[in-house]
């Protein structure tokens, strides 16, 4: 067992992990944050996407030990107090999900995309979420959601869609 430190959504955690434990397992099982989903466990579907030091990773492919000392953001860390992140609000308003299982990962990938490039073209949007599979929506309403989120974030002074 190895002791590691993770900063998840701004909170410091210290956990004992077996060397083969993945970041996803630690988030879901040790820390009981089940917003991040496991769709395949092999890095193929993107449902487990989280941010590690600002970049998207498939948390099922990252060993927990590799994440030692890193800053992690999960879907639970996006909303601030009662206020949803504009991407979250936009997915609700535009029907950007159906079953919702890919949604946390999809939203995290969207966040990284819009943080890196606040004004993506439609092609860039497609590329930005091409690592996240969705079986319900045909992606159309997800594209709508991302386009609307981009506008909402640009309109706000803090880039979060609020005043």
């Amino acid at each position: 067992m190895k002791s590691i430190k993770l900063e998840i959504n701004g909170v410091q955690h210290e956990v004992e992990v077996a060397p083969w434990r993945t970041l996803l397992e630690v988030i879901r099982e040790e820390l009981q944050m089940t917003g991040t989903k496991e769709g395949c466990g092999l890095g193929e579907c993107g449902a487990c996407s989280v941010l590690m030091d600002g970049k998207t990773v498939n948390s099922c492919l990252v060993l927990a030990a590799e994440a030692n000392g890193k800053r992690i953001t999960t879907i639970e860390g996006l909303a601030q107090a009662e206020r949803l992140h504009p991407i979250q609000q936009s997915f609700i308003d535009n029907g950007g999900f159906q079953c919702g299982f890919c949604t946390p990962g999809m939203i995290m990938s969207t966040k990284v995309m819009l943080d890196d490039n606040p004004n993506p073209t439609d092609d860039e949007i497609k590329k930005g979420i091409s690592g996240n599979l969705c079986r319900c929506t045909g992606y159309a309403k997800i594209f709508d959601s991302i386009r609307a989120a981009k506008v909402a974030m640009a309109a706000s002074s803090d880039g979060r869609g609020g005043a």
Partner: protein
């Protein structure tokens, strides 16, 4: 059409907050104190006798709490009870025989998944391998290995219809053609792998949270196979991460094993399938070959049609015993037939199990029928649209098998997509390697045929008054992602005259909510929708009586609208509904005020309603590689009145995605019964990059049976897509397409 305030609104889904924040709970997200993890040992052989199972080494592994095999069960088989015991052919754990690679042999409960995995490796199974068959052709050969003792010749189910005088129809025909088409397997691939958490408590009550489309089926199947009264089983519906028919058969092995392991250990047991298990050991769309012979008059009217469908059923029945019937039913849509003869043969093989998948037989037979319509048009020198419009069903028609078309027409859908796609300007006028094609379909809204005599009720609902003046819908309907929860709440709000925010929902919990059969055969809007509407109407009548007493006004003079109560002729007495409803609650000392509803379809053989769809696709084909680029996709589906257009569009767009995958990319590849591509890396579903823009041509009708005129959209919309793409590809390269998937190899073959 009437004017409505909530019905027809593009309202955001009621489960939005839960899903975008990650707070929503799916079956695999639950934990309980003392919870164990379960794992299932599966057969590595396609067909074998089990000579010996030794679990002792696994049982001795520290951390293992229980190991079960077929010997620990009652040996009761399950399946669709409607067709008698012989069609119930599946054991949740094999007794003495395994019939496909993935068949369940044993299960383990341990303190964590690693220990459970390790324990599986310590179970010794001695098999005697038996000869196996991997295609219907092999299985039907005289002397072929027999897969089930009850099914000589490996016939899972044979169905014959003979409607009208098909011999005379062919004799009268000006032109006859006969073609053979083949279609392939598709994985449902819901993003959420099947998962459940079962808990047997000390009183002998079983509670299970499971990822299912059919909670009441699961309840009854568990009761049957565990030898318990059905009311001792409680199935609670968590959020469901997609189903598409892959969670619709009823109980699967995971629910049975988790329940029995919990019973053995006295602790809660969770089983979550790996992605590989979902691909290998759940269900898939049937591969079907369709021999189709059609006779037409000189002006293109269909006088006779004869079809033989052979379905690769895999090792067990599941809902596949229904698929073989539906292929025949659905060939009666969307065209008027002069006569029709059908033979359906579902054949057991040692392949993974085929069963229901979105469209349930229709995508396969409509592919065949549509490809042949193109050829008939060409043979007769007609436009492909003209022959379809000529034969297309319309309101007032009754099909040979008794489907009463009570709303809509195929013609309306064809005209809508033709106009939006620029068909007339494009067909035959496109540059080389570009093509445009059409596909059409018809589909029903919810089966009235009783598949489960053990569940004699279709759908019932309760709407009750809450203490704060909101109303609570208790519905057993299953929203597995398609969105019926929101639609049902809209129906309550509309019927009573409330705002959407005044309605709350209790989702399926078999101890609490009235029965609804579940999410399959495009039935929730029609069945649960009508049951919900009738419960809401019942509550409204009771509310009007109470309001009349409270306000000392005539009930006829009271109107509830948009969350307010109006008294005719006294505008000053207008009050918020919630305030008055709260007052009623207090006056009644909390005595429940409950609206009750149920829905019983008018015809117990056929369906309450039928819808039509049409789809035009424009493609460019690279003649060297066979790569197909979708340039334009125009889709329409007559869903009756759209209760929520945002949800309807989502179904259309999602249908395009799933059907394009089936047409161009997805194929459950088998070698001697082994799934060769059981991962998303090898089994490719379209990503955002492959998804073309979809233009929706809206067609709305007002169905007399549907709640507020609504019909289905979840399945019918998928069916015309494969033939429209195949037709466009054929049009681009001047080739007749007979089989799916449309791979580059097929396209470039000389």
């Amino acid at each position: 059409m009437g004017q409505y305030s909530i019905v027809g609104q593009r309202l955001p889904r009621t489960d939005g907050l839960a899903k975008v924040t990650g707070q929503g709970m799916y079956a695999g997200d639950f934990t309980m104190p003392g919870m164990l993890r379960g794992k299932i040992l599966r057969s590595p052989l396609p067909h074998a006798r089990i000579l010996r199972v030794d679990t002792s080494r696994a049982e001795r592994l520290p951390g293992v709490k229980a190991v079960i095999t077929g010997r620990d069960t009652l040996g009761v088989k399950f399946g669709a009870p409607r067709f008698g015991p012989k069609h119930m052919d599946e054991h949740a754990l094999a007794m003495d025989r395994v019939r496909y690679i993935g068949d369940e042999v044993a299960a383990v409960a341990a303190i964590d998944e690693d220990v459970a995995e390790e324990a599986l490796r310590l179970i010794d199974v001695e098999y005697e391998e038996l000869p196996a068959v991997f295609s219907p052709d092999e299985a039907l050969l005289p002397g072929a290995p027999q897969i089930h003792a009850h099914a000589p010749g490996n016939i899972s189910r044979r169905i014959v219809f003979d409607l009208g005088d098909v011999e005379k129809g062919f004799a009268d025909s000006y032109h006859i053609r006969e073609d053979r088409f083949s279609t392939h397997g598709q994985a449902h691939a819901p993003m959420e792998p099947h998962a459940c958490l079962a808990h047997f408590d000390a009183s002998g009550k079983l509670t299970i949270w499971t990822s299912t489309q059919v909670p009441y089926y699961v309840k009854n199947d568990l009761a049957l196979t565990l030898g318990m009264p059905a009311t001792a089983v409680r199935v609670i519906l968590p959020l469901i991460g997609g189903g598409f028919g892959g969670k619709a058969d009823g109980m699967y092995a995971l629910e049975f094993c988790a329940a029995l392991l919990s019973k053995k250990t006295g602790r809660p047991v969770q089983i979550v399938y790996s992605r590989e298990e979902v691909f290998v050991a759940t269900r898939r769309r049937h591969p079907i070959t369709i021999q189709l012979k059609t006779g037409v008059s000189k002006d293109g009217a269909i006088l006779a049609r004869q079809a033989k469908c052979v379905l690769d059923g895999g090792a067990y029945n599941g809902l596949g015993v229904v698929t073989v019937v539906l292929c025949g039913y659905l060939l009666n849509l969307p065209y008027r037939l002069g006569s029709f003869k059908y033979e359906g043969l579902r054949v057991y093989t040692n392949n993974p199990i085929s069963a229901a998948m979105r469209g349930h037989g229709a995508p396969q037979v409509h592919f065949a029928s549509e490809m042949q319509m193109d050829r008939l048009a060409e043979d007769l020198g007609m436009d492909p649209l003209e022959i379809r419009i000529k034969n297309g069903l319309r309101t007032g028609d009754v099909t040979l098998n008794g489907f009463h078309i009570n709303s809509g027409s195929l013609e309306e859908c064809i005209r809508a997509v033709a106009e939006k796609s620029g068909w007339q300007e494009k067909r035959g006028k496109l540059p080389p390697n570009r093509g445009i094609g059409i596909g059409c379909s018809g589909f029903y809204s919810g089966a009235s045929y009783r598949l489960r005599p053990d569940l004699p009720v279709y759908s019932a609902a309760i709407v009750k008054l809450n203490e704060d003046g909101s109303v609570q819908l208790l519905s057993g309907a299953t929203d597995s992602g398609q969105g019926c929860d929101t639609l049902l709440m809209q129906i309550v709000a509309e019927e009573i005259g409330l705002s959407f925010a005044d309605v709350r929902l209790t989702r399926a919990d078999t101890d609490i909510t009235p029965v609804d059969l579940g999410n399959f055969s495009s039935r929730e809007t029609m069945y649960a929708g009508n049951a919900t509407r009738s419960a809401a109407a019942d509550l409204k009548q009771k509310l009007l009586v109470e309001l009349s007493n409270l306000l000392e006004a005539n009930a006829d003079d009271i109107e509830i609208r948009e969350g307010k109560v109006f008294v005719k002729g006294s505008a000053d007495r207008t009050k918020p509904f919630r305030d008055l409803a709260h007052a009623i609650y207090l006056r009644r000392l909390g005595k429940p005020l409950v609206g009750e509803g149920t829905y019983d379809p008018p015809d117990k053989i056929n369906y309450p309603a039928y819808g039509f769809g049409a789809h035009v696709t424009e493609v460019e084909v690279d003649p060297e590689s066979g790569e197909v680029t979708l340039l334009d996709v125009v889709s329409t589906h007559d869903c009756g009145r759209a209760i929520n257009p945002l949800a309807v569009e989502g179904q259309l767009e999602g249908s395009v995605h799933m059907a394009l995958g089936w047409t161009l990319m997805e194929d459950v590849t088998l070698e001697e019964g082994r799934v060769m591509n059981p991962s998303f890396l090898d089994y490719k579903i379209p990503t955002a990059l492959e998804m073309p823009p979809v233009t929706i041509a809206h067609v709305e009708t007002d169905d007399p049976e549907g709640p507020f005129g609504a019909k289905e959209v979840g399945e019918g919309a998928l069916c015309p897509i494969a033939p429209s793409v195949a037709s466009a590809v054929g049009n681009a390269i001047g080739k007749k397409i007979d089989c799916l998937p449309l791979t580059g190899a097929q396209i470039t073959r000389k």
